[in-house]
Amino acid sequence: MRFNALRVLKEGLTGNRGWGPHWRDPEPKPAYDIVIIGGGGHGLATAFYLAKEHGLTNVAVLEKGYLGGGNVGRNTTIVRANYFLPGNSEFYSHSLKLWETLEDDLNYNVMHSQRGLFNLYHSDGQRDAIVRRGNAMINQGDDAFLLDRAALEKKLPFLDYDNGRFPIHGALYHPRGGTARHDAVAWGFARGASDRGVDLIQNCEVTGIDTEGGAVTGVQTTRGAIRARKVAIVTAGRSGQVAALAGLRLPIESHVLQAFVTEGLKPVIDNVITFGMGHFYISQSDKGGLVFGGDLDFYPSYAQRGNLPTVEHVMEAGMTLMPMIGRAKVLRSWGGIMDMTPDGSPIIDRAPVDGLYLDCGWCYGGFKAVPGSGFALAHLLATDRPHDSATGFRLDRFTTGRGLMDEEGKGAQHNLH
């Protein structure tokens, strides 16, 4: 289905009865070249880029629930490329470039808004770290500006600059950072993949991964067996359970990350702002709600809801940073399940079973990575070589200790990120 101004006008005048579905709803075929497990952002993007970049359309995406019903539809929608370490840096840089042409590539309005992102700093040490990060971003070819307090106050006059505990001295400004409409990203990739011939199969839970002589031969699902030469597990949040179907254990623990939305307000926060001391980030959706989040609850969970101590902590951080939001009423919250790896960075790699591929471990950074991850996994599936932007996301880096990407400098160990 396509949109245009004339059609919107016509449908508006005739009760909006003429709109059809965005994508086909096919029955699963008995066999495909490639089966992608997981119809979230990453899985749909992989299917789209397999078709677009590699001409591979004998592909199925198997989704347990409905397309885009997981974390891609419930997140704080931030898109940025401000990573520091080699491995991450080139990947997120590439992903941001894909974001910048995504609406043309998909012919779909994903409302990608490069409204600028500010990482605040509150101490001399933090300023030094932010200068170093900004230089890394510039060396990668991305944009970063150091703003002092006077320059920042012109852009964000509503922050509590003289907070006794966390005074704000300035910020790292990343103008190409911003937000996007998360659901539209899933829908746009889904429509693009479906139009090119990929089968998107919903309500189809994978219950087994078939192997023969150490190689994948297909999957068992609630809608019957499907043979496949290659199978990709793209089920961040549930990677451990799906990988266990193939007898694998992954370096992943599932944690809960909460996000919050307030009632709709008039435009008040123009950019994305991250608090340097309290792990708090906020932006305002085009609908008017303040969208914000904080840190993990820091215990493994699949409950899709968190606990009140973290809620309190996030609200306190928000009030410390910008007391003006104190009267806004929180409408809803959500706990997403995060694939946490020991070093806080993702995995796009071949699994130790022939024909099985992993795209997992996105920690709390999966949304901005959607196009980059789909592009890189599609390249890996099509050519059996990692894409240049994703050579660092190896599964064996924990075993060998080589190429760990520990952005926070905490150590490559569970429960530290």
């Binding site: 370096p251 992943i252 101590p309």
Partner: protein, 84 residues
């Protein structure tokens, strides 16, 4: 989620810190067993056996049986008494 410390009684979650899954520490030098012990996880959706510490209370290390899907706490014991 509230935990019942065997020494202090039922207390707020803020007083406790998660300390990782209960795993058997391997013997000997570095090898696949050590790699698995440090990095690989069962990551269960359901009953999970894990360490917590009551660091803002009595500072005891605890063995906790917890459901990761419902957040139900099934059992809390001091580590010295062995697996719950």
């Amino acid at each position: 989620m509230r935990l019942t410390c065997p020494h202090c009684g039922e207390r707020d979650l803020r007083e406790f810190t998660f300390g990782g899954a209960t795993l058997t520490r391997p013997e000997g030098d570095w090898g696949p067993d050590w790699d698995a012990y440090i990095h690989l996880r069962e990551n269960p959706a359901g009953l999970s056996r894990e360490y917590w510490t009551h660091d803002m209370g009595c500072a005891a290390w605890l063995l906790v049986e917890r459901d990761t899907v419902t957040h139900d706490i099934r059992a809390v014991r001091p580590v010295g008494e062995g697996a719950p």
